[in-house]
Amino acid sequence: MTLSYHLQVVNLLAALLLLISFAMLSQRRIVGLITLFAWQGAALATSTAIVAWSTGQHHLYWSAALTLALKVIAMPWFFFRLVRKLDVEREVETMINIPTTMLIGIALVIFSFNLALPISQMSGTVTRSTLGIAMACVLLAFLMMITRRKAITQVLGFLSMENGLFFAATSASYGMPLVVEMGVALDVLVGVFVLGIFFFQIRETFDSLDLKHMEKLKER
């Protein structure tokens, strides 16, 4: 079966999303990470818009616009500023070395494809095959949060996970109901705002954004 042109684009974008996820996993520099995050948002917004256009789901335009505004413009800008203002070191230390992380990532992708296969087969949407990719994106972002040592990178991982989720929503079921999407977006916005406050507090208290300072609360 041949897919229509725009669906091929969506699949391409999905692949791009996955690729960006991998790139983020292997990226060592914070600024690079933010850029990649912005690109991921852009890919997500584009794919949402294309799905909206091709299926006539008009509320998805809203969703795409929100993504564009928040994840491509506002947040990267905010993070760039933050990085500059807080003067965070550029290099990102990782818990495990990058090749190993990549290997685990590949295993995760296979796992999620495998998991999503029976589900996507019964999906009625045209974009069903991308559900596995969405799940992989979520898990890869999770992996990134685990392997990074800086507070900012962890948050970037978190937001990237959110991207994966949005993509899942779009691909599996043409997006969530609008109210929900608005709510989620609001939460993300507030969350980032709170985080911003947090970064300053952490910085003020620990003189660094390195998470190794925050390992005091434990069982002795």
Partner: protein
Amino acid sequence: MLDLIPLQWAWGIVLYWLLLAGASLLAQRNAALITAIVFPLGALGALAIAGVGALGLAGPSAHFILPIGLPDLPFHLRLDALSGFFLVLLGGAAFGVTVYAMGYFKSMAAEQLSLLALWYHLFLAGMAMVLLADDAYAFMVAWEVMALSSYFLVTTDHKIPEIRRAGFLYLLIAHVGAVSLLLCFGVLQGGHGAYTFDYMRSAELTPFWASAAYLLALFGFGAKAGLVPMHVWLPEAHPAAPSPVSALMSGVMLKTAIYGLLRVTFDLLNVQLAWWGTLALTLGLLTALYGVIFAAVQSDMKRLLAWSSIENIGIVLAGFGLSLIFYADGKGALAALTMTALLYHAINHAFFKGLLFIGTGSVLHSTGVRHMGALGGLIRYMPWTAWLTLVGALAIAGLPPLNGFVSEWLLLQAFLLSPGLSHHYLNMVIPVAAAAIALASALAAYVMVKFFGVVFLGQPRAANLEHAHEAGWPERLGMIWMALACVLLGLFPVQVIVWLEPVVRLLTSQTMTNAGNWLMLAPISAERASYAPLIFFAVIAAITLLVFFGVKRVYHGRVRRADPWDCGFPEQDARMQDSAEGFGQPIRQIFESFMRVEREMPDPFDRAPQYRGDSRDKIWLLIYQPIADLTAWLSAQAGRLQHGRIHWYLIYSFATLIFLLVFTR
């Protein structure tokens, strides 16, 4: 409707006690109000509940449902012969103790006293409710209220760290026991909230589940009763409590465990297996011997009594086991005999142990000393206390014609009548068990001679003892009541047994036949065995008097006073008498391998050297310490989960997710 009256009264008395508990909290400023009004009123309640119990014993069983409890499980109350009997035990012993408490607590600070009176009456109410409860929930609530209030009573003197420790250990073991009982009721219940005892009676359990329920009950009730090896709390908690409380705990509270065990095993479970009995018998004998050996080496008088309680509980449990063996073997008459013996011993123990504890209370009150090494010669300063305590000591030592002898006699008879059981190994084991009982009761005499002799006889071992004052009248009245009960229970066993009949019939569906007459106790037939304490007593009294007056008449009654014989060493003083450690030394030497002796050696240059040797049991080291170590180890392992690194926390989350995804595929 008429049948309900005693039960309603019993519930009324429980409420009345609760009311008194509340009232004592209000009387926080006025100590006299509490000792002069609240305690006497509480004592009246005890007397009333004993009366109600006696009515319940004689009358048919009655049910009653209260409008409180869980929605589908309101409190069910029931008064039948078994609970009636234990109510009599509770009321009888509590009356004496509470009368005693009127005087004993007089010098306590008002604030503390009001709390004490609160918990005291709550404790009484809790025990009564345990006996009245007819569903699992009410039973457990009452059970734990009893534990909790007694915990607060034990820790009355919470400034002393040892007492806090004792209270903690007590409540912990009580709680573990209670959870085990919960599980037992979980087995017994029929599912979907059928928690009433009536339902449990009619339920059919497979032998496996019945055994599980029995074992859980044995563990749970055993923890409360002080069955070895769950006894560790008892020698700590009983001495820590104020004496009237120790008396109640030892005399009555331990019996509620026996009550529960009887209720579950004979009443609620409808299968009884012989090996259950063997197990209980073995544990009971072990407990009895263990308890009495440790009682013999104690140097704290209340701790000594606590260990002796363990012994007595062991004897009761051995009786329980034997009864179960007989019952499971279809020997109803023998089961009835044994049941009678164990119930008899239970009520005896309530009175003599209560008496001994309040006796030590008077000693403690007037001397402030619990350590026997600093006591002595008190019979001269407190004759009432001494003589009344002597009654208790003789009774607990199982000497005729007092009550302790009757129950042990009945139990030994039961052992002697055992041949002919269908299990041959049992025929062999039981005589050995009888030997163990005999050994325990002989050692009990040793313990009591030590207890009474060291505390009340001889020369005062400390100078301040000469200022020891006699107990006041309420105390004396309390002790007289308990001593009188010991004597009467000893002299009129036939009447007591008739009175026990409904209980025995309820449990074993047979009664113990008394082949003797009103004077003579003859369990199976007069040919086999008989005992007539009244005659016995009359003859001894007659001969004693006859000889006394005869000697006086024929010869003379002249007396000269002189110094005691000093064996040519004129510097005899009170320190040369046996200390408590010294008196127990032979037993310690024989059984030292079971003990962990903590010695306090005197300095060689000490002019007045004091040796202290505390013999603790090794069970703590053998069983509890490893459990504590294991717990600590596991907790250290669990602590490693929480090591503070957020990455690892994320990994847990991630791994859980992956695991579940794989697992649910």
